[in-house]
Symmetry: C2
Subunit: 159 residues, 2 copies
């Protein structure tokens, strides 16, 4: 007998249906635009950017938009806590540097990127594309817990 319209018969358990749907999304489907500052920027100016753009994480790049590091609210707070002057310190002093920065790519699954966020206990990942010339990574986006939370809400709406 043919199933009625709307019926559904795949041999998968509900858990598998959910898992396979979750794993189908790609980072490129939902990442945000990156907010970047130059390695020469002072902590003070970087903090202004953080507030104006209202993000929790900045990506630090050199000329051409290539990733050098990542700086988070927590890094800024550590400096403030130590009583250091924001104006005299370049952002490169407080950032996490490559190769210690965890990254994702546009083609990676959202599930895999979310796993990296959980495992490495970070709020956001730079979305990068390798450049033909070698080790350089071009920053093309920002993928965060906010993107995952928004997707979760949309999926709960049946979209």
């Amino acid at each position: 007998a043919r199933p009625r319209v709307g019926y559904y018969y795949t041999g998968k358990s509900p858990y598998e249906v959910v898992a396979s749907k979750i794993r189908r999304y790609r980072v490129k489907d939902l990442h945000s635009r990156p907010v970047v500052v130059s390695v020469e920027t002072t902590v003070y100016d970087a903090l202004i950017t953080l507030f104006l753009e209202d993000v929790g994480t900045l990506f630090v790049v050199r000329e051409g938009g290539f990733l050098e590091g990542v700086v988070s609210r927590k890094d800024f707070l550590k400096l403030a806590f130590g009583g250091q002057d924001f104006r005299s310190v370049p952002v490169s002093v407080i950032m996490t540097r490559r190769p210690h920065v965890v990254t994702t790519t546009p083609e990676e699954s959202v599930w895999e990127a979310a796993r990296k966020i959980v495992i490495h206990e970070v709020d956001a990942l730079p979305v990068v594309e390798p450049v033909a010339s070698g080790q350089d990574l071009l920053v093309v986006g920002r993928f965060s817990k906010t993107n995952v939370t928004r997707l979760f809400v949309e999926m709960g709406e049946g979209r």
Copy 2:
């Protein structure tokens, strides 16, 4: 004919299967323990708690564990940015106060709580239980984007 074991036949589209599964989780199934400070705490001591507990949001309570406000990394950074002395200011000066604090409850769906996080642009919600005696809210947990991200990762594993 009976479906084979593992088969599945409910009249729901895959989107509906995912949506109904997502909406079934309750906040009490996965929230974290709350990290709280007293309203009399100085910003300096609150910041120490923030670092020691490694959370992004503290809940500010009065005696008995009743919610008075919420303070986030962003609130601390604003103060640091203004150059104010951390030691002299009580945390109540920089916190978001009730009734402006968005809350959730143990019985609320994770989906609804995640929606509140997205709509109100916050990182975490205090999980509260109303107290018989009136307007007071007892803080019993912390629900954040991290909880949503962890659940998303687990669901993608087919659990």
